[in-house]
């Protein structure tokens, strides 16, 4: 089982789909079973009721026929003596004539089992049928005589149909003419009832099947809907993600181009110009040396001074691009330099505090936190109106946290959602997401507080110690 499970690798989407469909299928299966059992029970009860109703009607009919017949010749029977053969003959004739329907007829047996009247099966007349049983072993004639002698009643057995000779179930009502020792009765075949019942049964079954078909159809439609919705959501999400990625890529490209443009301009506008100046100075010096002009060293010095200017420019550009302090000394000193510079430039009082540990963060975290601090300070300078800023950086048991707080007037959430205004904050958010860290921004009218945490995975492990310090995690880039 475990093996099978481990071999099944579901994507997130597939899991969601299963989560949506499995309960549905389960519920439908349960409903189907319950419906099946219920409807079967209902159908059986219905069929039983129908059967007994139909048979009751037939029975009542039979009893009426017999009562009718008996009453119709009661005047003969009532006035006749037990041995009045003339009267008996008359009654037998009347009974023999009373055939009805396609199969209906009256029969008479005497108490000994001799058939006296059988208009549709005349070959039975004047024979003794005592002990006759049907094909399933039910006694027929003896039972009829017994029922008649005990005051009349019903008996059910199989009997050949007069029309076709086929055996079919027959219900008979029989009564007695006691003084003549006769059992008189009539019967009706109930195969039509059985047919009706069977038809109704099959109709009920068809209804159950239809119900199942409907349930199946609804289930299938629901599954399609779940699947379709899933597909639509999936496609939509992917499109959104694509669009987001595209705009992000565009922003990265824009930022890159802007930066390149700026660096190119700075190199061209400042350094190239200065170097050209140096070249003029040196050429002038060369010329003056050749002419033994005493002003040669002066031209030389001008060149050297210009070179110093060029060196300072390079230093400035390079620091703007990426402060070496960050790489060489770590985030703490870099933030210190940043805040000092910020404080000097803006006049906003800035305090920086940190712990004694240095350079324990990995490269990604260092750069991200530094850029976030830069962004935050830019926002403070431009929008907050604050005159006091504190920056705190420290490691703790679950990672490291940088907190930047100001006493400005904060910013409303609405402004944060404005795409233009919120770009900086979104950049922060994205940087933090890259690090799997957390960003917490609290802004009120009394100030803003930005707190960024990175997990322990971005803290370098303590050195295991080595014979030389060459494994030191500080990456000291060449100048």
């Amino acid at each position: 089982m475990k093996q099978i499970l481990s071999r099944l690798h579901f994507s997130y989407g597939q899991k969601l789909f299963l989560l949506a469909t499995l309960p549905l299928i389960g519920a439908v299966a349960a409903i189907s079973v319950v419906v099946a059992l219920q409807s079967q029970e209902l159908a059986e009860r219905e069929v039983r009721t129908l059967e007994s109703q139909l048979i009751d009607v037939k029975k009542q009919e039979l009893k009426n026929y017999v009562t009718l017949a008996r009453n119709s010749f009661y005047y003969i029977y009532g006035n006749a003596a037990p041995d009045d053969e003339e009267s008996k003959r008359k009654v037998m004739q009347i009974l023999a004539a009373m055939i009805y329907g396609s199969e209906g007829f009256f029969f008479v047996y005497d108490y000994e089992g001799n058939n006296l009247v059988s208009p549709r099966q005349t070959d039975m007349i004047n024979q003794n049928w005592a002990g006759l049983s049907d094909s399933t072993g039910t006694p027929v004639v003896d039972e009829l005589i017994r029922v008649a002698r005990s005051g009349g009643g019903y008996h059910t057995y199989l009997w050949p149909k007069p029309s076709t000779g086929e055996e079919a179930q027959m219900i008979t009502y029989v009564t007695s003419f006691p003084s003549w020792r006769w059992a008189v009765g009539t019967g009706v075949f109930v195969d039509d009832v059985i047919k009706t019942v069977a038809a109704s049964k099959s109709e009920v079954e068809a209804r159950v099947r239809r119900t199942f078909f409907y349930i199946g159809g609804i289930t299938f439609a629901s599954l399609l809907m779940v699947f379709g919705t899933g597909m639509i959501i999936n496609v939509r999400e992917r499109r959104l993600a694509d669009a987001k990625l595209k705009s992000l890529t565009q922003r990265v490209f824009d930022a890159q181009e802007e930066e390149r443009g700026r660096v190119a301009r700075e190199l061209h506008d400042s350094i190239s110009q200065i170097l050209v100046g140096v070249r003029y100075g040196l050429e002038l010096a060369k010329k003056r040396f050749a002419n033994n002009d005493p002003r040669a060293p002066e031209a030389m010095n001008r060149g050297i001074d210009s070179l110093s200017g060029a060196i300072q420019e390079v230093r400035r550009i390079s620091r703007d691009l990426r402060p070496g302090v960050l790489d060489d000394l770590g985030l703490g000193p870099a933030l210190k330099a940043l805040t000092d510079d910020f404080s000097t430039r803006t006049g906003i009082e800035t305090q920086f505090s940190t712990v004694v540990f240095r350079n324990r963060l990995d490269q990604d975290a260092k750069i991200a936190l530094y850029r976030i601090a830069q962004e935050a300070l830019t926002n403070i300078e431009r929008h907050s109106g604050a005159n006091h800023v504190t920056i705190d950086l420290r490691g703790h048991r679950s990672g490291a946290t940088m907190t930047i707080a100001d006493n400005g007037h904060g910013f409303e959430t609405a402004r944060r959602q404005n795409p233009r205004q919120g770009l900086g904050l979104r950049n922060m958010q994205e940087r933090v997401e890259q690090l799997e860290g957390s960003l917490n921004i609290q802004s009120a009218k009394t100030g803003t507080r930005i707190s960024v945490s990175v997990p322990l995975t971005h803290l370098l492990p303590p050195e295991t110690g080595s014979t030389s310090a060459s494994k030191k995690p500080v990456t000291e880039a060449p100048e």
């Binding site: 712990v355 004694v356 990175v454 100048e479």
Partner: protein, 215 residues
């Protein structure tokens, strides 16, 4: 005036800079350039053989950088005067260099006479900070606590992991006495008196648990 010239070792990974400085300084009679090396590890390995009075040490070098090299060289040969020669003018670099034991800090783009002045100053036992281009080369106190040096941080992390002085000494290839000195300085800087306290301090700042496997 002392009769013996000052023994000078130049360590810089940029040949043009190293050669340029060598060429200029060779013009002084009271200076003898005993070697030109191109990284920190070479300086550490050869300092005892070359026996320099002053080392002109570049800050940024591949492999072992100037700060780390300063500490290790001083562990082996404490009488060495180290003068950091750097392109960086940030106060953070200067205060770091001084806290790691350097005697002076000179920017590479100062007039070459100033380098000679700095060498002379550190030889006299003075601290020399370049007054050149930036003008703001005074180290400022960074916060309320004196920061640990790289070496002290390494020693602290080793001690916090439960290693003995002897084990740390073996690991770092230094004497037990040096480890003890580091330990004393660490305790003084942090205001912590026990080793258990050091371990707890490291744990609370997350530096012991770091895995460094960030994505």
């Amino acid at each position: 005036m002392s009769t013996a010239p000052i023994r000078l070792l130049i360590v810089d990974d940029h040949p043009m800079v190293a050669d340029g400085i060598e060429a200029i300084l060779e013009g002084y009679d009271d200076l003898e350039v005993v070697g030109v090396l191109c990284n920190g590890q070479e300086a550490i390995d050869q300092v005892e053989t070359l026996n320099p009075d002053v080392i002109l040490l570049d800050l940024n070098m591949p492999g072992v950088g100037g700060l780390t090299a300063t500490e290790i060289i001083l562990e082996r040969r404490p009488e060495t005067r180290i003068l950091i020669l750097s392109m960086h003018d940030s106060p953070e670099y200067i205060s770091s260099a001084l806290s790691h034991g350097a005697r002076g800090y000179v920017l590479k783009d100062v007039p070459t006479e100033e380098i000679k002045t700095a060498i002379d100053a550190v030889m006299r036992g003075e601290r020399y900070l370049c007054t050149g281009a930036s003008g703001s080369l005074t180290p400022e106190p960074t916060g309320d606590r004196e920061p640990l040096t790289s070496r002290e941080q390494t020693v602290l992390l080793q001690l916090a992991q439960g290693k003995s002085n002897k084990e740390v000494a073996a690991e770092l290839d230094i004497s037990v006495r040096t480890v003890e000195t580091h330990r004393k300085n660490i305790k003084r800087k942090l205001g912590i008196s026990s080793t258990a306290g050091l371990t707890r301090y490291a744990l609370e700042h997350g530096v012991l648990q770091g895995t460094g496997h960030g994505l």
